[in-house]
């Protein structure tokens, strides 16, 4: 049995997206195999197909030499596969030991649970792995997030899985725990197990992995030994894509400074963030997941408190303790989590467009229903929101149209500064370019846009300047003329440009 996993020609399409296109992937025993690529390159889709979560459209898959036709997460587990995902999927209120055995607690003579044996076995393994400071009897939620992650990492070792997937395992870990993780991985490798390692942190790939597969836009770019490459080459392979016209918009000459942020800090999320956004300008904020970009947006909007730092609007210092103050000052906010933060799903398009507008059209708390209806109609027309009527519940609209309603909500509230976190998340290509067109018009009218996007072509096409952040700290502000994918990715990975 030479190969643990042999996948070839794997393709998978979702409505409107070709997530994977003819991807080959091989995992050998005793190999730590890195899987790298930008957001949307197809890494998680590939993992989910390997783990039986998604069904592939075409291609062949063999696990330990056995051809797999119908796969399920249960079947994958039975074949000795285990994945540790970014969000810890364990039972938080149960103890560490119970999580190890989950559903298969050792039993004693009368069929009752043998707690002593369970905790002894669990404790022995934790000690072996160098995790002796974790008490097997402690409820999981009493541990720090990093320790919980270590429990999640130890669990498949305990289950003696021989194909392990670690998806961004170090996102929550400190250096010391990362070292323990690496020693666990080395031990697994020496036992002849196969490990798939996904990480945005390139230095980890060079520290622990044997080979690397690069994916880009759902395609297999190259598989090679880590020894044969270097971080620069890897970045080039990951992003080497031609820019599409779609992301280029007509830019407006920037005016006066609309929003100035100075030394904004919220420990431990972000520190010393300073930049300014001019009227008519689109200012980008780029960073990896967890780099603090969303938190910075929320802090500017008054949704989260800040430790120190100053915010100036049109030259005047402001301090918001509640989003209502930010809205009154002319700031609009589009969250990356549209369904939970931006729109009221069961309510009508009309109500949603007026969400932040009601104080302005409700003298003495009584809604001016004509103004309410007019605002809804105005923005349904102007933004070309596709809906049979503004009385329809917004949950029935497509993602793109929902997002246009969110734009309308901010425009109805007379936002002069638009703070957008991933404005085209979950939005199809057609609606995307419509949203870009709207941005173009808004900046023409002097609106300042501050946007986060993790999709490079988008942020490079739209933004006039980009602030790159890494682990909550500013790396550099890059001007449009100096935009370069490699440079931005390097900065976002904590490497100097």
């Amino acid at each position: 049995m030479a190969e643990l996993i042999a996948a070839s020609g794997i393709s998978k399409a979702f409505p409107g997206v070709r997530a994977l296109d003819q991807v080959d992937f091989v995992l050998k025993p005793g190999e730590v195999h890195a899987l790298v690529g930008e957001n949307g390159a197809g890494k998680s889709t590939l993992i989910k197909i390997l783990m039986g979560v998604y069904r592939r459209d075409s291609g062949s898959l063999a696990v330990k030499g056995r051809d797999i036709h119908d796969f399920s997460p249960q079947a994958a587990q039975a074949s000795g596969m285990a994945a540790v995902y970014q969000d810890i999927s364990l039972a938080r209120t149960l103890t560490v030991g119970e999580n190890f055995f989950l559903g298969h607690m050792p039993t004693g003579r009368w069929g009752t649970i043998d707690w002593t044996a369970a905790y002894d076995r669990c404790g022995a393994l934790l000690k072996e792995l160098g995790l002796d400071d974790i008490d097997p009897r402690a409820p999981l939620n009493s541990l720090s997030v990093a320790k919980q992650e270590m429990v999640a990492i130890a669990k498949p070792v305990f289950e003696n899985a021989d194909i392990l997937v670690f998806d961004e395992p170090t996102a929550l870990l400190a250096n010391e725990e990362t070292e323990i993780l690496f020693s666990i991985i080395r031990r697994l490798r020496s036992e002849g197990k196969g490990i798939i390692y996904i990480s945005h942190r390139l230095e980890e790939i060079f520290a622990i992995c044997d080979s690397v597969t690069v994916l880009k836009d759902g395609c297999h770019v190259r598989t090679m030994p880590v020894a044969d490459t270097n971080p620069d080459d890897l970045v080039r392979l990951m992003v080497g894509r031609s820019m599409e016209d779609m992301y280029t918009i007509k830019r407006s000459p920037p005016g006066e400074v609309a929003l100035k942020v100075d030394g904004l800090t919220r420990e431990p999320r972000f520190r010393d963030i300073s930049f300014d956004v001019r009227h008519g300008e689109i200012f980008g904020l780029f960073g990896l997941v967890g780099s603090g970009r969303t938190e910075i947006m929320r802090a500017i909007f008054g949704a989260d408190p800040i430790d120190r730092g100053e915010i100036h609007l049109d030259g005047k210092p402001v301090r918001f303790t509640h989003p209502s103050q930010a809205i009154a000052a002319g700031i609009g906010f589009m969250s990356e989590d549209r369904k939970n933060q931006s729109i009221a799903l069961p309510l009508s398009v009309r109500t949603n467009i007026n969400l932040a507008h009601y104080p302005a059209i409700s003298p003495f708390g009584v809604i001016d229903r004509t103004a309410e209806r007019d605002a809804a109609r105005t923005y349904v027309d102007r933004l070309a929101i596709k809906t049979p009527s503004d009385a329809v519940a917004i949950r029935n609209l497509s993602g793109g149209n929902q997002q246009k309603v969110v734009l309308g909500k901010n425009l109805a509230a007379k936002s002069r500064i638009l703070v957008c976190d991933e404005p085209t998340i979950g939005v199809d290509v057609g609606a995307k370019s419509e949203i870009y067109k709207i941005f173009e018009k808004l900046t023409e009218g002097g609106v300042a846009i501050l946007m986060v996007s993790s999709y490079l072509p988008e942020i490079m096409g739209l933004a006039d300047r980009i602030l790159v952040i890494y682990e909550g700290r500013p790396m550099a502000i890059v001007d449009h003329a100096d935009f370069d994918e490699e440079k931005l990715v390097r900065l976002a990975s904590g490497l100097q440009a």
Binding site: F301, A303, H322, P323, S324, A326, I327, A328, F333, S335, N340, Q341, S342, I343, A344, L345, P346, L347, S348, V349, R350, T351, L355, A356, Y358, P359, S362, G365, V366, I367, R369, P388, S389, A391, V392, A393, I394, R395, N396, K409, A413
Partner: protein, 330 residues
């Protein structure tokens, strides 16, 4: 069938006239009321008499008023279990004041204010202490029930002025005044929910507190207001009940919260929040009380009647669940 026909219309009563679904619920409920009345008028000689009908309206008014307050709380995805206890304490407090010689024109507004204060206490528990509404109002229910017993010495407070009793027994042009008070509150509630920012805030908060906050809505005043309103409505219901009985009864209002919740839910309210209408709550209360009244007149075993009403609640909630699941699937 066009796309528009298949789309669910927003569960917001403000645009009820456009809403197929909402019209569907109210029309169905209305049809049930008519069928019930027709059936009972044929099968029972007593049912259609003016005496019985005005008695039915008086009986329904108490639960109907509480249900209107409960409706607003449920729209915010909350629940208020303390309303039954507020009914009791309002009856006792008001009766004690009347006994002490306080004019009812003073005692009644004061009692309603005390009710509102209990509601604000619920709001503090829910918003500041982050206790889930179910537990917060359960605690308040228990505390208030204890207070009632302490204040009344577990005895009824009788010998109230005659004019106080006339509130409940009186009628205008043959329409029981209690029913008129209920309908006034109904209009007030419709206005609040559909024409004011406060009512719109209730729906938005019920849809998602985070969306509400990020849309600039301050949660505190709205949460205080909704529980305050619910308790104030319940206090008024308690005053009317004690007027009807011509005394303050310490054990009054037991399990009234459940009847109110049932009325709201039968009327299309959802415990997930952001759905429900005042028309629905009123019709829900009428249906429940009509089944009780009619069942008694037809000599149906009261215990069997209980089974029927329970089943009715389950059917209503079951339909609600299926509706929610359909909507989520899109």
């Amino acid at each position: 069938m066009t796309v528009a026909d298949k789309l669910e219309i927003a569960a917001r009563p403000g645009i009820a006239a456009l809403g197929r679904l909402r019209i569907g619920t109210s029309t169905t409920l209305m049809a049930i009321v008519i069928v019930l009345f027709a059936f009972l008028s044929v099968t029972s000689a007593v049912f259609p008499t003016p005496e019985n009908l005005s008695n039915l309206l008086r009986q329904t008014s108490i639960n109907g008023i509480i249900a209107l307050g409960m409706l607003m709380v449920i729209i915010t995805a909350g629940i208020d279990l303390s309303v039954g206890a507020v009914v009791a304490i309002a009856g006792i407090v008001n009766a004690l004041m009347l006994q002490a010689g306080v004019s009812m024109w003073v005692s009644i507004p004061l009692t309603i204010l005390i009710g509102a204060a209990i509601g604000v206490f619920n709001g503090i528990l829910v918003h500041e202490v982050s206790i889930t509404p179910f537990i917060a109002t359960l605690g308040t229910l228990t505390i208030v029930r204890g207070l009632v017993m302490i204040m009344s010495g577990a005895r009824m407070v009788a010998n109230l002025p005659k004019e106080f009793g006339q509130i409940a027994s009186g009628s205008v042009f043959g329409i029981p005044s209690m029913f008129i008070i209920w309908m006034v509150l109904f209009v007030v509630t419709v206005f609040l929910l559909n024409y004011t920012q406060l009512g719109r805030n209730f729906f938005i908060i019920g849809s998602s507190k985070e969306v509400a906050r990020l849309s600039g809505i301050r949660l505190r005043p709205n949460i205080y207001a909704v529980y305050g309103l619910s308790s104030a409505y319940a206090a008024l219901a308690g005053i009317l009940l004690s007027s009807r009985l011509s005394m303050g009864v310490p054990t009054a209002g037991i399990s009234y919260e459940l009847d109110a919740i049932a009325a709201v839910v039968i009327g299309g309210g959802s415990l997930f929040g952001a759905a429900g209408s005042a028309v629905g709550a009123v019709l829900g209360a009428i249906i429940m009380q009509t089944i009780r009244n009619g069942g008694n007149l037809l000599g149906i075993d009261p215990f069997a009647l209980q089974v029927i009403i329970g089943a009715l609640i389950l059917i209503a909630v079951g339909i609600d669940q299926i509706r929610v699941r359909r909507a989520e699937k899109g």
